[in-house]
């Protein structure tokens, strides 16, 4: 899972008014736990997930883990 700059260049964290940064974030589903680079707010760390990531790679990994 990765995100490109074009996916986020316009979005900022509303609460902190900060631009988003790509850093390693832990995600998990069922038995799987990974560290992936995702956009998040450098201050409050809320993670940004856009539609294509959620319905694309993320859904694919979810499906893969469900079928393990």
């Amino acid at each position: 899972m990765y995100q490109e700059k074009k996916d986020y260049q316009s979005w900022i964290c509303d609460k902190c008014q900060k631009e988003l940064e790509l850093t390693k974030v832990k995600v998990h589903y069922l038995e799987g736990e990974f560290e992936v680079e995702l956009l998040n707010c450098p201050t409050c760390h809320q993670v940004f997930i856009n539609e294509s990531l959620a319905l694309g790679k993320m859904a694919e990994v979810e499906q893969g883990l469900e079928d393990k």
């Binding site: 609460k15 736990e33 997930i49 469900e66």
Partner: protein, 781 residues
């Protein structure tokens, strides 16, 4: 799950069984493949198939007595396929030079072959190829024996000589003019590792094993006419080939009998139904041999026998292009995997469990039962993909929550006077009926969860009708029977649900349940056999319709029976009776009543594999040019969303003045919830005069464009999910902002799903731009 039992079930499937022609060909030419190649015009490939299976194919192909043809299933529909003529055509148009075979060192043993007729030559050539040293003893001065009697129009002398020369060219040692007697035979048995006796004129009776052709326990094997006791060339060749195999096994010191069940001719379990096969008359050859085109036309007549009855009826089996035989094997693999991907999960969750396969199968193989057992096993082993049935199970929980669930006895006569006590107006049946309650709840109306979701305005009318027409009090019970849990393999939830229903039944002193939904009927029969049930439609058929004069335009309808009612022929009758009472003409579908298909909702396929569900819908709705009549809410909703004009019985019994019932759209997932809650509230208010809490006002006024609504349906996102995300975002400001567009993007995890909403604010309205969700969780540091 008992996997041995599972495999047994799969092995009963005859999908892969050979056709009668091949089973009755002593050398098992793959006739369907052979004919398919001819049909494609590929005579060379057809030739290779002959070469592979038929000893001396260039001779036998001309003179075979073709026992296959008398068993051809096509004979009942235009005459048997002329397989022997096709073989001759293939020899003419597809012949290739024999492959150059490099001689194998002859180190495996010495075998004497007595008699150079067809069977002896077959043994000699087969064993020579395998590396045995062969000595051929022939009483005359030429090879071929009785083959020379067949010289004629098909088999030319020069062709036979040429073929026999090939045997000599192999370097097999041949001793001509050797008349052998019993004593000489005894000598040969000592001298050679094994002896084959294929001399048709041998006088002495020999005791032999009919499977292996071994004489006693000796190193003597026999074949040809002594074994076949007829003049058939193909049986003779077959006996030689089988004896050669025995000799090879004998000399290799392995079992002579293992895995030889289907040698020679055998009875195939395959049964081909030709009752609906179009009659096509046999193609006659215009000269001594089929032309290529004639051969192709004749090949096209072949039915290519294969049992596909279940597959023909089932969109699912065809979509995955799988027979029960192969399906069971994939399930078996899926069940046994410990580490690795369970590739069959999606397929297993794409079966509607409608039961048509069993109905179509003359061996009663039920994939419905196999799939149900498999899903239960997947749940038990914690291998069921959560996302497949999650939404449906949440929907079930909703229906059994206080937002819908309700149990009430019929109001007393005094309380319900305005509702049920109508004077009879003699010129019309337009009455709700007289009050004839008894104070004891004889019936409990259980409309299920989908009828109230799709027809919220009619539940009260149906209830009033029932109170006015059946003897004894009619209570009402709103809830979900548990069908989603059953389909999802969730026996834990199913058990709880059944207990809850049973408890109500006991508390109400065991009334008869009146069921409107076919899935409820199925679930009650399966899990609650002690509860007496009656179908709502049976009651309408028996007691008469409430609005007799309501028929608008008489028309022809095709009835799509609900798959849950497959075995309920009384119900099928009732539905037809109601439709015809209303003045409709019925044209039956090919797959109807006990052979009906599923609409695509069953087995929760609608949630687990929408594409598969759409496949069922698309196939079913094009089976009739007429509007369809259904009596299951999901059938109606799916067919209408597929673009087919479809009436539910409710549309006909309770027609609305300003509405074409046949195009009434499926409510959205959110509307289904709202409708159910509305049914509960309105019944409580209007029938029981109870105070009802109105639902809490939505926090935000959402403006949702059509494209987003469609996404909500496809992604199983409810209005309440969006409300919750927006509320959380507005209150906490935990959201993202896009200064260019002015949009916000916010998320909220609800149970196991994280919902994302992109929105903009405009005055007091919230404009929804997009919605999506995922199940993966972000681990907050």
């Amino acid at each position: 799950m008992d996997l041995d039992k599972l495999l047994e079930t799969g092995d009963r499937c005859i999908f892969r069984e050979p056709p009668t022609c091949t089973a009755n060909c002593p050398v098992h030419l793959e006739i369907i493949e052979f004919i398919s190649e001819i049909e494609k015009g590929d005579f060379q490939k057809a030739y290779k198939l002959m070469e592979k299976k038929i000893p001396f194919h260039r001779i036998i192909g001309q003179i075979c007595d073709h026992p296959c043809e008398s068993f051809c299933v096509r004979s009942a529909a235009g005459g048997a396929i002329s397989i022997s003529e096709l073989e001759k055509a293939v020899l003419e148009y597809g012949a290739a030079k024999p492959k150059k075979i490099w001689p194998v060192p002859k180190k495996k043993g010495k075998v004497a072959v007595i008699g150079a007729g067809l069977s002896g030559l077959t043994v000699a050539v087969d064993l020579d190829k395998k590396g045995y040293e062969i000595v051929l003893y022939e009483k005359t001065d030429r090879l071929g024996g009785r083959l020379w009697d067949h010289i004629g129009e098909s088999l030319k002398e020069e062709n036979l000589s040429e073929e026999l020369k090939l045997v000599k060219d192999k370097g097999i040692s041949i001793q001509f003019n050797q008349e052998l007697d019993k004593n000489r035979l005894m000598d040969l048995l000592l001298e050679y590792d094994a002896v084959y006796l294929g001399s048709g004129g041998w006088d002495e009776q020999l005791e032999f094993n009919p499977k292996t052709f071994q004489v006693d326990e000796l190193n003597l094997f026999i074949g040809g006419k002594i074994v076949t006791r007829n003049d058939s060339v193909i049986f003779s060749a077959s006996s030689g080939r089988r004896a050669a195999l025995s000799i090879e096994r004998y000399l290799s010191k392995v079992s002579l009998t293992d895995s030889r069940e289907r040698e020679g001719i055998f009875e195939t379990p395959l049964k081909q139904d030709v009752s609906e096969t179009e009659v096509i008359i046999k193609i006659e050859k215009q000269s001594s041999i089929y032309s290529k085109e004639e051969a192709i036309q004749e090949a096209k007549r072949c039915i290519k026998c294969q049992c596909r009855k279940c597959m023909d009826g089932c969109n699912h089996l065809r979509k995955f292009d799988i027979s029960p035989y192969a399906y069971v094997r994939q399930i078996n693999h899926n069940e046994r995997i410990i580490l690795g991907t369970h590739y069959a999960n999606k397929m297993i969750n794409s079966c509607t469990e409608c039961g048509l396969c069993k109905e179509e199968c003359f061996l009663d193989i039920s994939m419905k039962d196999v799939i149900q057992d498999t899903r239960e096993s997947m749940v038990e082993r914690n291998k069921m993909p959560v996302s497949a049935h999650d939404f449906a199970l949440k929907d079930m929980a909703f229906s059994n929550s206080s937002r819908f669930s309700l149990v009430r006895k019929q109001p007393s006569k005094e309380q319900s006077k305005d509702l049920f006590y109508y004077p009879l107006i003699s010129f019309s049946d337009y009455v709700k009926g007289l009050y004839h309650g008894t104070g004891k709840t004889e019936y409990l109306f259980y409309p299920g969860c989908q009828l109230p979701a799709s027809y919220p305005d009619d539940v009260k009318s149906i209830y009033e009708y029932l109170v006015g027409h059946v003897k004894g009090d009619v209570g009402i019970y709103l809830g979900c029977c548990g069908a989603p849990a059953d389909w999802a393999g969730r026996q834990d939830l199913m058990g709880e649900n059944i207990e809850a229903i049973k408890k109500v039944w006991e508390e109400m002193e065991r009334p008869t349940f009146i069921l409107a939904c076919s899935s409820c009927i199925r679930v009650f029969e399966k899990y609650l056999p002690e509860i007496k049930v009656q179908s709502l439609w049976d009651i309408y058929a028996e007691k008469g319709l409430p609005n007799k004069d309501q028929i608008k335009i008489p028309q022809t309808l095709s009835i799509h029976d609900a798959c849950g009612t497959r075995e309920n022929s009384d119900l099928h009758e009732s539905v037809r009776k109601i439709a015809s009472k209303l003045g409709y003409n019925i044209e039956e579908l090919k797959y109807s009543r006990e052979r009906t298909k599923c609409c695509g909702y069953g087995g929760l396929v609608y949630y687990a594999n929408r594409e598969q569900s759409d496949g069922f819908v698309a196939e079913r709705i094009q089976e009739s040019p007429h509007d369809i009549l259904v009596y299951c809410t999901m059938c109606k909703d799916l067919f209408v969303s597929g673009g087919k004009r479809t009436f539910h019985l409710i549309d006909l019994i309770y027609p609305k003045d300003n509405e074409d019932g046949a195009v009434k759209k499926m409510p959205t997932l959110s509307e289904r919830h709202q409708n159910r809650s509305r049914v509960k509230r309105s019944l409580l208010k209007e029938v029981w005069n109870e105070e009802v809490d109105e639902p809490a006002q939505d926090d935000y006024q959402l403006v949702i464009p059509e494209s987003v609504r469609q996404n909500m349906e496809d992604r199983y996102i409810l209005m309440e999910d969006i409300q919750a995300v927006v509320k959380n975002a507005q209150e906490s400001r935990k959201r993202f902002f896009n200064p260019e567009s002015g949009d916000y993007l916010a998320s909220l995890k609800r149970e196991h799903v994280t919902f994302w909403v992109q929105y903009a604010q405009e005055d007091d309205k919230v404009l929804i731009r997009n919605v999506y969700s995922h199940r993966m969780e972000i681990v907050e540091e």
